[in-house]
Every structure is written in structure tokens, then in C-alpha cells.
Symmetry: C2
Subunit: 209 residues, 2 copies
DNA sequence: GTTGAAAATGAATGATCGTTCATTTATTTT
DNA sequence: AAAATAAATGAACGATCATTCATTTTCAAC
């Protein structure tokens, strides 16, 4: 998975704006939007607080910028993934692998995009929410197609979508690469669970309700 | 599921403390700990800001109190559930049902306990984290026992535990009772998915990796 | 009903918040 | 190199932050 190759800044301000975004992302992810002051961001960038306002109108705009960029990148990365993929590959497998890889690679972005939703002003929230629903639709379409084709069996594809996404998105909250399982291990484990979760019901029912 | 029956306040201050907790819980859940001021809590309670300090030493202590109480209540509720249960009932079924019901009933507590972890001072965090691990262990023990008995098949019970809990805990983020699915529907849908997820592998493998 | 303790008030503390702005410095364009 | 523009400074703005405290009010025990 190729993360956007940032092209070299043409003006000096572009570079500063980039560092502001990076600092804000790190700080928001660690302490939360409301708990991070503009002064902290400025200090991290190595600049006076007022300088930030040459690049972002308000603190809220920094958050908005981060979250909208994340959602756009996520959807763009999926599109790129889809075009580069073998048409034989099972789409559910592809989605699970993509989601895990992307979310492990961009843990801070994902975390902020989820945790700071309530700190977005309504109009910004609506935009992020629309992108989120677009992303969810990718998986529910996959599930619905698969159900129609008899490859999967789920009682409610919308619910299954949310269940699967919640399951996968939880990974970065506990997984730390380098100790214990490899990313490959994680992919395999989760892929197995997701597959079973939506598998056509051929096995006998279990236990006494 | 019986939520703690609060016994009547003996002193007036107990009642005020209760209302402070209730107001803080509601506000923290809606706006986040860092974004809520002591003044807002006091206003919600109908009292001057200084009055809160008759009941809690600091704002942080309110958060600590809420989170520790939630974790203790959760573990206590599971114990109560376990004693009142038929020994024939499948423990995984019981856990899933319990978890869903509890998390839908106490959505604010659950949300705060998850979202505000990073705003806890280290010593308070450690205590909450210990309780969380205790709760996780309930499920991983169930899975490990079931795997040994051949009732379930999971490659890594610890990972499966996190996957299942993430899946279930995600429900309150989107489910709103009253419109669409009933709580009973939710229980059934998720129970089916979880069961399949850990089912012994009797079905044929799917798709081309 | 009196008394002592508990609870709430109202005002203040110093610190920090996001943001503004006149000015200076750095960079880009001509 | 000069002119024009962009970027950063440093200091300040009023607002709000969590918390403190002397005082007053309310309540519970006798």
C-alpha cells in the first residue's frame, strides 16, 4: 500500500503547514483535540502561536483538515487498491486485508478521525460522516453481492458491516508491531474470523440457548 | 439485568454528589472530559462551581470515580449474572448476551470509560486498565475452555477475545433502540456472528486468496 | 429550639485559553 | 538589486479555566 507521495513544497509556507498538520495529528492522537492548546502545537512546530494563523484560520480548521484529508485518502487508497488487484481475488478478503494494512499504517489518523468526531462543528461533521458512510458502503456492497451469489450468509449485511469494521478497527488499539504477532499473522487471524463469520451455514448449531 | 439499586441518601451531600456524577457523566459522554468545564457541571447540577469541591477534590477525581465505578459495576454485574444462570447455558452465549445488554443499558458509562482513558492520571489509568484486563480474561477463559473441549476453534484466543469485544462494544455507537431493530434482534444477529466466528471448522474454505 | 457540622455561596486567585495585530524578517517575483 | 508578498514575531486581547476561601445558609442531631 502506497501512502500519498507528498511532492516537495513550492513555497516555504507549505512546508510549515505540513509540519503544523503533523504536530497537531500527533498531539491530538495522544491527548485529544480539546486537551491540546494552539501553543503546544506551535511549540512542537518550533514557531510562535500567531504564526499558525498564517496557515489555518482557526484551531478547528486544523482538525477539519486532518479528518477530511484522512477520509479522502482512505477512499482514494481503496480505489487504487481496487484497480491494482487481481479480479480473481475474493473482494471480502481484499477489503479485510486493505483495511487492516491501512489502519495499522495510519494509526494516528484513524484514531483521531474516530475519537474527535464530536469536536467537529456540525457542517464539518456532516462531511466526514458522509465519507464514512461511503466507506461502509464498500463493505456492505461486497457482503450483499456475496449473499446474493450464495458465497456468504449474513442475516443483516448492514449490521454485519458495522460488526466487521468495528472488529478490524479495534486492532490498532492493542496491536504493537514488533512484539509478538506480525502484521501477516494479524491479517491471517482476522481474515479467518471474518470469513467464518459470514460463511454459509453448513455447520451444525452449537450449545443450548 | 438489574442495575445497582441506589439506596436513599442519608445526608444531603450524598444526593448532591450523585447529581454531580450524573451531570458529569452526561457531559463527558457528550463533549469529552477536556471540553467540559467544572462550571458546566455545576450549572447542570444547579449549584455554584465551588460547591462541587465539597464532594470531589478535583475534576480529575470525578472522572476517576466514574470510570472506576463503571468497571467495578461491570464486573459485579457479570458475577451476578453468572450466579443466576442455568449451568446448561453455553458460556459464550451468556457472555455475548450479557455484554450487549449491559453496554446498551449503560451507553454513557461505557463510552466515557473507553474515550477518556488518556485523560486519566497514570495511577488511575492503571487501576482501570487492570479491571479491563480482568473483564477480557472472562471471555478468553471461556474461549480457551471451549477450544480445549472442542466446542470452538480459534487460532488465537487472546486475539479472538479482542476481536469479539471490539465487535460487541461497537454496537452502542450506531444502534438507537426504538427505530429499526429491537435489542432482541441485535442480540440474535451478533450471537449468530460470534458463534460462527469461533465455530469448529467444518465448512469448506472459501475464495482464492 | 439550640448547636455544631455540612453544604452552598459569591467573589476572587493566577494560569491558560484561542485569537488578533502592528511590526519585523524572510522569501519569492520582477 | 528592488519591489512585492509571504511568513514569523512578540506582545497583547478578553474570556475562560480549575481551584480556593471567608462567609452565609441549610441541615441533622440532640
Amino acid at each position: 500500500m502506497q501512502v500519498e507521495a507528498e511532492q516537495p513544497a513550492r513555497r516555504k509556507g507549505d512546508e510549515t503547514a505540513r509540519r503544523v498538520r503533523a504536530a497537531a495529528l500527533k498531539l491530538f492522537a495522544r491527548h485529544g483535540y480539546a486537551a491540546v492548546s494552539v501553543r503546544q502545537i506551535a511549540t512542537d512546530v518550533g514557531v510562535q502561536p500567531g504564526a499558525l494563523y498564517n496557515h489555518f484560520p482557526t484551531k478547528q480548521d486544523i482538525l477539519k483538515d486532518l479528518m477530511l484529508a484522512h477520509m479522502a485518502d482512505l477512499l482514494a487508497a481503496w480505489d487504487r487498491d481496487a484497480t491494482s488487484r487481481s479480479p480473481n481475488e475474493d473482494p471480502l478478503d481484499a477489503f479485510v486485508r486493505f483495511h487492516i494494512r491501512y489502519h495499522l499504517e495510519r494509526a494516528d489518523e484513524v484514531f483521531v478521525a474516530y475519537m474527535e468526531l464530536r469536536n467537529l462543528e456540525p457542517v464539518n461533521f456532516a462531511e466526514v460522516e458522509a465519507a464514512r458512510q461511503q466507506y461502509e458502503k464498500i463493505l456492505s456492497d461486497i457482503l450483499e453481492d456475496g449473499v446474493r451469489a450464495g458465497r456468504y450468509s449474513v442475516a443483516d449485511p448492514k449490521v454485519a458491516t458495522r460488526a466487521i469494521i468495528a472488529m478490524l478497527t479495534g486492532i490498532p488499539t492493542w496491536y504493537r508491531p514488533g512484539r509478538g504477532l506480525s502484521r501477516q499473522d494479524i491479517e491471517t487471524l482476522y481474515l479467518t474470523m471474518v470469513r467464518k463469520c459470514v460463511a454459509p451455514e453448513t455447520s451444525k448449531p452449537m450449545g443450548a440457548g
